[in-house]
Symmetry: C2
Subunit: 179 residues, 2 copies
Amino acid sequence: MCKLTPKPRKPRADQIRNRERLLEAARKVFRSDNGSLEAVARQAEVGIGTLYRHFPTREALFQAVYAREVAALEAQAQLGELAAWMKAALEMMATKGGMVAALEPVLDKDAPFFTEQSARMGAAVGRLRDQAVAAGELRPDVTAEDLMRVLLGLSYGPGADASRSGLLLEVFLDGLKPE
Amino acid sequence: MCKLTPKPRKPRADQIRNRERLLEAARKVFRSDNGSLEAVARQAEVGIGTLYRHFPTREALFQAVYAREVAALEAQAQLGELAAWMKAALEMMATKGGMVAALEPVLDKDAPFFTEQSARMGAAVGRLRDQAVAAGELRPDVTAEDLMRVLLGLSYGPGADASRSGLLLEVFLDGLKPE
DNA sequence: GAATATACGGAGGGAGCCTCCGTTTTGCAA
DNA sequence: TTGCAAAACGGAGGCTCCCTCCGTATATTC
């Protein structure tokens, strides 16, 4: 009388367990190792096939791992302080190297589909940015994507130096004022 | 009577020819393909072993390919205009994706040896930066490495968008003024 | 034209990516 | 409980890339 959908089965226990193991392993491996997916599977003591079934693409795994970080940044964005938010985001990226992975998809124009994570992230930043523009605190020709790009650029790639990126963000924020 | 060194032989013709082919092939492959070294060798119609003999590491190949670009930027730096130079560098990177590879080594603190290319590049930027500081046009707390970092960050990695990076550099340069 | 230093090519071993499918486990109904 | 089909598991296997090593080919030199 209740379930009109075919047959809702309880998810299997091993499925849940393995997913958890994989996420845990991925966090470790992404932070140190070269980030090979096979290494993640090994660390999780799970077959490589299992990894791919849970997370069909590398992206999917990244997204899942850093969903929590995204949520935190999203919450922080509620406060409505653009400059403060960018500093917090930078901080987060500095301490948690892999965090950048969560930002990437937002910027990838070619992404086959806008995932929920990146959509939420993008929306949060967009809101912040719009408020700042409305308040006359931000050059209107700078978009939310631009802001993400800079954050990513400052903390990503070879030569990224956490001890300097704070200063560089400062410089950038200075330049962001209109007029 | 002249050569005290053992036996100076003329370099073989095929050696020179192959080196040229490899550089040409590398330029093409780095710009489009995934940048696999095997692809470079194939494109050059040369054995993989030959590639490795000429360029023992990926870095070595990159460096050779972009040595000319570096020289151009170095020349441009002679003009002594920091802002103009950064714009030119950005432009170059936008049109020639692989150019970033030439900048990377400058930023890599862990590089086992400071190559000539990166040393020249670093020196050129350092000079520009010092002049700008002396002229009171640049915050003295920003180093030459910082400048490179930003250039790299704006044009490198996922989401890099040549059409936006010009504006972002503008913003950054605005923020660079002291006071 | 021969000798020999020099360069060439690619086989081969290691590793990662991803797919596919036979085997095992699990939830559910009888 | 027991049985069974759905769901999940694991890893072999086919592909590509990385890099080394060494037998073969060739340009220079005498």
